[in-house]
């Protein structure tokens, strides 16, 4: 018995602090990374991999059915169509993370876009002011939700369902006698959503900066960890990762640049996802979101202002819904009574869930919104290219959706059998 504990003491000096437990199955270098990955796959700890695989399956099928699906033109369309609802879904992710729900994102996006249109077109306010007002309104709605939730403890399902109905009423009232408002095609807002693309050279610069940034931050982090005698990703691995990102993103961007390129609206969406990811993963506020979603009582006992966290989650959600609504209006170049209606709600929530956010709170990442909306829009776009009856269109949508998520199956099943359910 004693000999083993001596082994520990000997290795103490060489092994990084966090790898000293002798039960850890040690692995080194690139090979070790691959083995660890395989281990995680077997253990069902796959992160976003299943969804990505589901996506690849969908893409292959649609491409086989209609070769235009993966054409550059269509992919450019796809990116642009993802942005508005994707941004809304990003807000939904935040609300789901604290274990609540917002059923009213559609209505919020509809109402705020209506207010924006009325101010901009009817009242002749400058575009930026109209947009700002819309966003402030979105913010205010979330704040009210937060107050009602914190003070009365009404379930967020009911609050936001009341919001869904009430705000739709306000939207109809705001649009009033007009019913439908055109946004001028030559306004900056509409051009931004329809015609503004990143110049090819700039898009490559973006890719290069992203790859370089990833490497730089990874390297700095690894150095600090090594200095603190903790295990760290090897420089070789960091280089490999950045190279992968460089090539991967580079190819995608090059392909999109074959036609119109990368839309600024999509860049905005990506930027919001990255910011949200940073906030959720790397700030105290982000941690408190996860804590409240995981165990609100424990978070409260840790001294976190749980009410403030709920309020800010609602505010973030409705604010992002307002941004998404404005962009959706800009893309359609019109606002009407059905703006924000239809399946905006369902799609935004479904995107968050498909991307892996739990409805029970505490689990999910900002990337869920990106992945989920790409899945949903891919299905929708793929079906657009097939000339189907609407009855079959619905059936296929349902089936493909299920298929995309069922790839998770392998992951989850093995996860459960490995005791991580």
């Amino acid at each position: 018995m004693t000999d083993r504990s001596e082994v520990i003491k000997q290795t103490d000096l060489e092994t990084p602090t966090d790898l000293r437990d002798e039960r850890l199955i040690g692995r080194q270098g690139l090979r070790g990374v691959a083995e660890g990955l395989l281990d995680r796959i077997r253990g069902g700890d796959l992160g976003v991999l299943p969804v990505v695989i589901g996506l690849i399956v969908i893409w292959s099928v649609f491409q086989a059915l209609n070769p235009i699906f993966l054409s550059s033109v269509n992919l450019v369309n796809l990116t642009l169509e993802c942005a508005p609802v994707g941004i809304i879904a990003l807000g939904v992710v935040v609300v789901l993370l604290v274990g609540q729900i917002d059923l009213s994102v559609g209505s919020v996006s509809g109402l705020t876009s209506a207010v924006m249109a009325v101010l901009f077109v009817d009242r002749g306010l400058p575009a930026w002011l109209a947009i700002l007002s819309a966003i402030v309104l979105g913010c205010a709605i979330g704040w009210i939700y937060g107050q009602v939730f914190n003070r009365f403890g009404v379930p967020s399902f009911v609050i936001t369902m009341a919001g869904l109905l009430g705000l739709l009423g306000v939207q109809l009232w705001v649009l009033g006698a007009k019913g439908s408002i055109n946004l001028p095609f030559d306004s900056g807002l509409v051009s931004f959503a329809q015609l503004a693309f990143v110049p090819a050279w700039l898009s490559y610069v973006f890719v290069a900066v992203a790859a370089a940034g990833l490497f730089a931050s990874g390297y700095a982090h690894a150095r600090r960890r090594r200095q603190a005698s903790l295990s760290a990703t090897s420089t070789r691995l960091l280089i490999a990762r950045s190279a992968l990102v460089l090539v991967g993103l580079g190819v995608v961007v090059w392909y999109l640049n074959q036609t119109r390129g990368v839309g600024w609206m999509f860049v905005l969406f990506l930027a919001l996802v990255l910011v949200a990811h940073y906030v959720l993963a790397r700030t105290r506020f982000g941690k408190s979101i996860y804590a409240v979603g995981g165990n609100a009582e424990a978070a409260r006992r840790a001294g976190i202002n749980v009410k403030a966290v709920y309020t800010s989650a609602f505010v973030l959600c409705t604010t992002l819904a307002a941004v998404g609504g404005v962009l959706a209006a800009a893309r359609l170049a019109a606002v009407n009574q059905s703006s924000g209606g239809g399946d905006v709600n369902l799609n935004a929530i479904a995107a968050a869930v498909i991307g892996g956010t739990s409805l029970f709170g505490g689990r999910g990442t900002a990337f869920a919104a990106l992945l989920g909306i790409v899945v949903i829009q891919s299905i929708s776009s793929g079906l657009t290219l097939l000339n189907l009856d609407s009855s079959f269109r619905f059936m296929v949508t349902g089936a493909v959706l299920l298929l995309a998520v069922a790839v998770d199956s392998v992951a989850r099943r093995s996860r459960a059998s490995h005791g991580r359910a």
Binding site: T17, D18, D21, R23, L24, H221, R224, R225, A228, L230, R282, T283, R284, F285, K287, S288, Y290, A291, G293, G294, N295, E297, A298, A299, R300, R301, A302, G303, I304, N305, G362, R363, G419, R420
Partner: protein, 255 residues
């Protein structure tokens, strides 16, 4: 001078009177053990002190000033750190995240390296056997979780530390470390409240023992002046109880 003193604390849950007129004083540099039967109201008292529940009536004074502890944040502000019996960890977060919950280093750009280093330090100090601090707490063993909860209470610089059955799930080595730790805290002049069902541990580290029985004070003893049997008698409300009977029968069996 007592750092924390309670007068007439009462709390009912529906039809159950969990606490009735509790009085208690804790001095700095003193370890007070609260003992009592299951359901005696010990954890309820702890929750009132740490702002989880509000007392129905009664007053709490902290450093001789009457205070109103209406939320856990209030208790943190006063310098009261608590290890709850149910631990109150977030299962979806990992060990580091749980340790630093609400008091992360660098709010806007978390310093995860420094936090990881500090975590390993704290855990080593408690002899914790945790293979990795980056696994979610959900996958830790019972004792590992308890160690995390104890480590957490030491992070901020508290004036009073409340430990609700801190060693219940701990192994022998970890228990010894925690008892050592409690002694170190006392030596640093903190007030320590410890709840335990283990009379040996109580006798080993406590200066004073307060007994609760069915939600009421049932005597306070200086540890030096009382025998383990007396404490057990105060807990169970009778000198002839299952513990003494069991001890007698064991003695009869083993020569």
């Amino acid at each position: 001078m007592s750092i924390l003193s309670l007068r007439g604390i009462t709390k009912t849950f529906g039809a159950v009177a969990a606490l009735t007129g509790i009085e208690l004083d804790i001095d700095s540099g003193e370890v007070v053990a609260i003992v009592g039967d299951n359901g005696a109201g010990k954890s309820t008292l702890v929750k009132i002190l740490s702002g989880v529940h509000a007392a129905d009536s009664g007053t709490i004074s902290f450093e001789s000033a009457a205070v109103d502890i209406s939320s856990p944040a209030d208790a943190h502000r006063l310098g009261i750190a608590t290890v709850f019996q149910d631990l109150a960890l977030c299962e979806n977060l990992n060990v580091i995240e749980n340790l630093f919950l609400g008091q992360e280093m660098r709010a806007l750009r978390l310093d995860d390296v420094a936090m990881e280093v500090r975590s390993w330090e704290l855990l080593r100090q408690l002899s914790a056997k945790i293979p990795s601090v980056r696994t979610p707490v959900a996958s830790l063993s019972g004792g590992q979780r308890q160690t995390v909860a104890i480590a957490r209470s030491l992070l901020a610089d508290p004036k009073v530390v409340i430990l609700d059955e801190p060693t219940a799930a701990l192994g022998v080595a970890q228990t010894a470390e925690v008892l050592n730790l409690i002694e170190r805290l006392r030596d640093r002049g903190l007030g320590v409240i410890m709840i335990s069902h283990n009379m040996a541990d109580v006798k080993a580290v406590a200066d004073k023992v307060a007994v609760l029985r069915l939600g009421r004070n049932n005597g306070t003893f200086a540890v030096g002046e009382v025998s383990q049997e007396d404490i057990v008698a105060a807990i169970t409300g009778a000198t002839d109880n299952v513990v003494t009977r069991r001890a007698q029968s064991q003695e009869r069996l083993r020569p």
